[in-house]
Amino acid sequence: MKYIKFFLIGILFGIIMTKSEIISWFRIQEMFRFHSFHMYGVIGSAVILGMIQIFFIKKIKFKNFKGKIIEFKNKKLGKYNNLFGGIIFGLGWALTGACPGPMYILVGNGYYIFGVVIVSAILGAFTYGALKEKLPH
């Protein structure tokens, strides 16, 4: 039962992503063609509010629901992996028109073919895990 809250937050997320059309392949094309402010507005406003949020969480030592101070893990900086991994991700993002969140949410919208996209993405993650030691980071 302790997991039901995550299911509910997920529902909220799925509704937001669908209703704002961020899960649309066409909208991603529009973004990469700089034809609309929509996607930049969504990501930009989420990030700016996120920055303010995290600034205050750290400043006032805001506690989580268990009364523990919320801590943030730093992302690991790599010489190659952030950029090269990012570029490969971007190539796939433009092709499928979906990053991982939208892939799942599109299935909920009845576009079941995105199940194949998800399986392919899982295979991609598996391949990364298998090759990890051989790849530059």
Binding site: F13, F32, N82, P100
Partner: protein, 187 residues
């Protein structure tokens, strides 16, 4: 106008963006961090890949919330399309419609071009490239980069992480190269 009609209309960016940051806040408050591509790693671990590769050898039971969150998101997509269905076409700009029609992609008003995203197109080179290779790149790239749009672009940039900024620059390099240089070759 009823409340259902109101919700059913497409939401503008200034509603969606703040609500996404609220989702991030809820997850932080419940002791988690917002990031979706880690679920791809979790699925491999649940399937037993930890026996073969160190990257998948961790206690996935601790990360099961991530899978539950995604199950919720899928259900959210179902709710939005069933109960708050928008009967108008996606609000795509005319410039994009024109550009895509030059590539032979018809804007049908739906969320995705159905002539590409269907089961039969999997048997064509183009369809296979977009659906399977595209998906593979997303999964491989996200894990190599250490996160995707949620983990790097939203969570990471919000926390002023340099690796996230580099990754997001990478996302756009890849996306722009694909859209402007490779799409004309594929379509």
């Amino acid at each position: 106008m009823s409340i259902i009609d109101f919700i059913s209309k497409p939401w503008p960016w200034y509603v969606a963006g703040p609500m996404i940051s609220f989702v991030m806040f809820l997850l932080l408050w419940f002791g988690k961090s917002f990031g979706i591509s880690s679920s791809l790693r979790n699925v491999c671990s649940i399937a037993g890949a930890g026996k073969y590769y160190k990257y998948f050898d961790f206690n996935w039971k601790k990360e099961i919330w991530n899978i539950i969150f995604i199950a919720g998101a899928i259900f959210g997509g179902y709710i939005a399309s069933t109960f708050f269905h928008n009967f108008n076409p996606v609000e795509l700009s005319n410039n994009t419609i024109d550009d895509l029609s030059k590539l032979g992609i018809i804007f049908n008003g739906e969320l995705v071009p159905e002539e590409i995203f269907n089961i039969y197109s999997l048997a064509t080179l183009k369809g296979f490239l977009i659906i399977v290779i595209g998906g593979f790149f997303v999964g491989f790239g996200a894990r190599w980069a250490g996160g995707c749009t949620s983990g790097h672009a939203i969570s990471g940039l919000s926390n002023l992480q340099l690796p996230s900024l580099i990754a997001v620059v990478g996302f756009f390099i890849g996306g722009l190269v694909m859209t402007h240089l490779i799409f004309p070759l594929i379509f």
